[in-house]
Structures are given as structure tokens and as C-alpha cells.
Point group: C2
Chain length 312, copies 2
């Protein structure tokens, strides 16, 4: 697992702390630390000497070039030196370097970030939460395909219900993008047996009653995610406990549609958020989740509208 020590507002201290927690919680986790020597050394010094073989110091990145850390961590996955990458760094830098170094799945132009939210009805996949901030309706449809695969593979939902987030369920409401997208969604053949269930609203992201996957642009999704996560942090999450360990649903997003496991934490992530993000990445890798998802999205592909990426 490549960990970007310089990613985030409180790096490297918070990242080192989070990585230490994840490392101690998971005896089979190996970490590749990407970042300054002193931060990596501090982490190694805090570890039982008998366990130090599980930690490697990768590329030495200096504090004034934090985006280099993102790129080096992603390259480590591309070169087979790590199985996955976790970063709380600049979202655009992560998305762009992951798309370049790991390749995009066929038809994926801008890989979306998928977050998971607890709801009364169970887990809900919300995407995009910050990658494509000015998408068109074709981007949104690919988000729907990728989100459906996520819910099927990771949450084991048999026939995921996919909704399009808007501000009123009557046809014709919403902004230009949300007025353009529904015909495309209605005509689409979604993977993993997923069904498009129509327009959903902000309240549906809290209740989970209408959909398992909620599709939106990265601007709206990011704002809603940060609002709800903060509300849940203050008030407790909705619904029954999700049996997901003490941390509950991790506050970390998965980059979908790239050739590797890339987990992105908020810039303001705490050390426990970082630890949960590392545990999420390890779990997804061990379950071969990305392989199963690409199988749904690419191999079940019937739509003639999808383009093929040439730089994957």
C-alpha cells in the first residue's frame, strides 16, 4: 500500500499517525511511504522493530512539491511496487496522475470519485464527489455505470437501484444538465443488473429509500457529502449500525474507472479518516474489487455510445 505522506492539510503528521493506526490494526499490511525522509523515519521509529520489515520508504518527496508525492505514489502502483494508493492530497492531481499512470477503463473520460454514506436503509454510493465539476450528461451516465458496479461488487447489492440527483422529481425540473440527462439514463443498459429508478432528491441520500447509487456532478456531490458527513460526525450516523468496525463507514472516496485501487481522503482528513482509508484500500485490493468492477462495466458493455480511451 503506497501512502502519500504529504497529502492533506495537516500532512505529514496526521498521515503518519493514520498510517501507524492502520498498520497496527492489520498485521498483513505492508506500507510504502512516499514523502520526506524525516516523516518516514518518524513512522518507522514508532514501530516495533520486529514489524519494520512491513514498511518501506519509497520516493523521497520534499514538502514544497506535495503533488510529486501523489504522482510518485500512483507510479508505485503502476510499476507493481504497491497494490493500491491512499492520498489526502490535491484531488485534481490524484485523478490526473492516476488516469495517466494507471490508465482508464474503456469509455471513461474523467474517473469519478465514489463516496459511501450510511443511511437508514444501509450503505449508499454517492458519485461523483469532486473529480468532474463541470460534467456533461455522458459523464453522468458513465458515473452511473461505475457506481452500479461498485454497489454490486463492494456492497453486494443484487440489482442496484441507480438514481439521478436533482431538485424535484417532475420531469423538466433541475438545471440544464439534469434536464438533458434523463433520456440517456432511460435508454441505457446498466451493468450488474442495475436499474435506473429515475430522479431522486437530497433527502433520498439520507434515507437511502429510493436508490443504492446516487449520481451527480462532482461539485454538488462534494458539497452534499461534506455537509452530511459533518452532520453525522456531530449527531451520529443515521440508521442501524453497519457492522463496519468502530469507524463505521469510512470517510474516504474510491476513484473509479482507473487501472488500480486509488483511495482519496479529504484534505481535512483526521488520522482516523486516513486509517479508515488505508483499511478500505487494503480490503478492496484483497477482494479484487476493481477487477470485478471492470468485468461488469467493460465486459457487459453493449452500448455503442462509449468511446475507447487511448492512453490507458
Amino acid at each position: 500500500m503506497a501512502v502519500d505522506l504529504l497529502g492533506g492539510d495537516h500532512a505529514p503528521a496526521v498521515v503518519v499517525d493514520g498510517a501507524l493506526h492502520a498498520f497496527q490494526d492489520d498485521p498483513s499490511l505492508h506500507l510504502l511511504l512516499v514523502g520526506p525522509h524525516d516523516a518516514a523515519d518518524a513512522m518507522v521509529a514508532a514501530i516495533d522493530p520486529a514489524q519494520r520489515g512491513r514498511v518501506t520508504h519509497g520516493a523521497a518527496i520534499t514538502q514544497d512539491q506535495p503533488d510529486d508525492g501523489v504522482r510518485a505514489a500512483v507510479r508505485a502502483v503502476a510499476h507493481g511496487e504497491a497494490d493500491a494508493v491512499v492520498s489526502a492530497g490535491n484531488t485534481a492531481a490524484i485523478v490526473v496522475s492516476a488516469a495517466r499512470a494507471l490508465g482508464r477503463w474503456p469509455g471513461v473520460r474523467r474517473p469519478p470519485l465514489a463516496a459511501v454514506l450510511p443511511t437508514v436503509a444501509g450503505r449508499l454510493v454517492l458519485l461523483d464527489v469532486g473529480s468532474a465539476v463541470d460534467p456533461d450528461e455522458h459523464f453522468l451516465l458513465m458515473h452511473a455505470r461505475l457506481g452500479a458496479a461498485y454497489a454490486a461488487v463492494v456492497h453486494e447489492v443484487a440489482r442496484p437501484r441507480v438514481g439521478l440527483l436533482t431538485i424535484g422529481i417532475e420531469r423538466g425540473k433541475g438545471d440544464r444538465l439534469r434536464r438533458a440527462a434523463p433520456p440517456l439514463f432511460e435508454a441505457a443498459d446498466l451493468p450488474a443488473g442495475a436499474r435506473y429508478v429515475g430522479l431522486v432528491e437530497g433527502n433520498d441520500v439520507v434515507t437511502g429509500a429510493a436508490a443504492d447509487v446516487v449520481v451527480t456532478d462532482g461539485f454538488t456531490g462534494n458539497i452534499l457529502l461534506k455537509g452530511l458527513e459533518t452532520a453525522y460526525a456531530q449527531l451520529g450516523p443515521p440508521g442501524a449500525p453497519l457492522n463496519d468496525g468502530p469507524a463505521g463507514v469510512p470517510r474516504a472516496a474510491l476513484l473509479l474507472g482507473v487501472g488500480g485501487t486509488v483511495v482519496v481522503c479529504h484534505g481535512a482528513a483526521s488520522s482516523s479518516d486516513l486509517a479508515a482509508g488505508i483499511a478500505l484500500a487494503a480490503n478492496l485490493h484483497r477482494r479484487a474489487a476493481m477487477v470485478a468492477m471492470v468485468d461488469h462495466v467493460v465486459n457487459e458493455e453493449h452500448s455503442p455510445h462509449n468511446e475507447v480511451s487511448h492512453d490507458g
Copy 2:
């Protein structure tokens, strides 16, 4: 107070019920019922005969033309037959008919809807929550001016802090609209002593720590509002009690920048939401809040960029 009996998903039953509650809670409230005869008759029948003088049946609207109810209720205010209007009807119909019949304040092109959210730090004004779904940056600046006046007049905030909602506080993040707006905000002379405090994120709408007024487009604002309101309904509102009566902060929005008091409830509003909306409208009218706001926004106007409305 003109009440649109046909507005909302569960009209007229829920509206009649909410109006009854508001009427019984406020002995000086007079209601002008706009809607079908049978619904108005049902409401009158439920009232103590000694109090029936406080209820008038206005325009008789039939169930198949609900937007006619919105227009008739707004016209009643324009014609001086009512002091304010409350509707849970179609937002676009309310905004357009209010702008036409009551006029817009100088410089207001699309009147925004302002909602109030409870936060740990007190009340927060969020606007727009559903009127202008594809605004440009000049609309957003007017939203900021109107929201500042709201916070100053209604929440009695001395120098309201105004933030622009986006997805990262570094300059250059956000979508096209949020990249275009900051220079305009920084150069603006806001009313009521308000200060532009810069970019804020979804979490700031929950904590209230960064701003008293949060400005966004009507699409994002509506989705965030419905998400947070639903979370708070399930989990309890954040922060200390706001001493706002048993209902807390009303789940109703005020239309700003028009020549009258227009309160809009969600289409899915409950009877207690409707009652809270009616009480809010009555309170704002008695405090002459719109007059005080127009005084801040129009009479303190120094900006040469504002246009004058010609159909007000």
C-alpha cells in the same frame, strides 16, 4: 395571510391542517384561503364559530389548475387583500408570479429563495435553495446582498459574514461559476455592513463557524438543504436550542427581492411545516422585515453594476 390550499404534494388536506394549527396558535392571524370551496369549507367548519371572522375564502381554484392558486394568492397581496402569502406549490410558478405581480427590487433579476438552517453557532441563511438553478456570477452577487440583508434584519446579525459555497478553499477550485464569482464578491460593497469572508464548504453550512450567510446556486442549495433537513429531522438539529418555539427553525424559505412577503414550503411539506411557514410569514410581516431589507439593499446601493428592473 393568503394561503394557497392547493400547493404541495398532499394538498389540500395537509395545507388545511397546517393552516388550522397556525390559526389556533396565533389569535391575531387572519387567513385568506385560496383554493377549492370544499377545502375552505372544511377548514371553516373546524373552527370555533366565534373565530370564523378571521377566515375569508378568496379565489375559488379548482384542483386541476393548482398554479392558478399560486397566482391568485400572490395577486391578493398585490391588491392589498392580504399582507403575505404562503405556498407549498410549484416553485417556478411562485417565483414568476411573485416577480410579476409584486415587482422586483432594483437590480434583482431572479428572486432567490432563502432558507434558514440551525447550526452549532446559531442560525445560518442559505440561498438560493431552488429559484435560479443556472445562475451566473452576477445573480450570485445579488443573492449575497439579499442574504446579508436577511441576516441583518431577521437574525439581527451586526455585520453578517457572507461566504461563497464551493468545494475547496484554494483559489481556482470549484466549477466554472465558482471560479468566476470571487473577484466580483471581493470588489462588492455589501449592504448592512456585511463582509465577504471568502470560500466556504459543505461542512461550514453545518457548523456555522465560517459564515452567517452562504451563497450558492439554486440547484446545489436545494439538494444540500433537503439533505441536511432530512438528516436533522432524523437525528435532531445541531447546536443548542434556538428558542424558536417547539418547531425550531421553520422548514420554509423566504422569497427575497420581491415587493411583498412570500414564504415557500417544500412540495413534501408536512402540516407542521405549513404551520411554521405561516407563522414565519406573519412574524416577518409584523416586523416589517421586507421593508427593512429593501432599505439595506436598495438605499445603501453604491455599485454601478446593478440594473434596474422595469416590470416591478
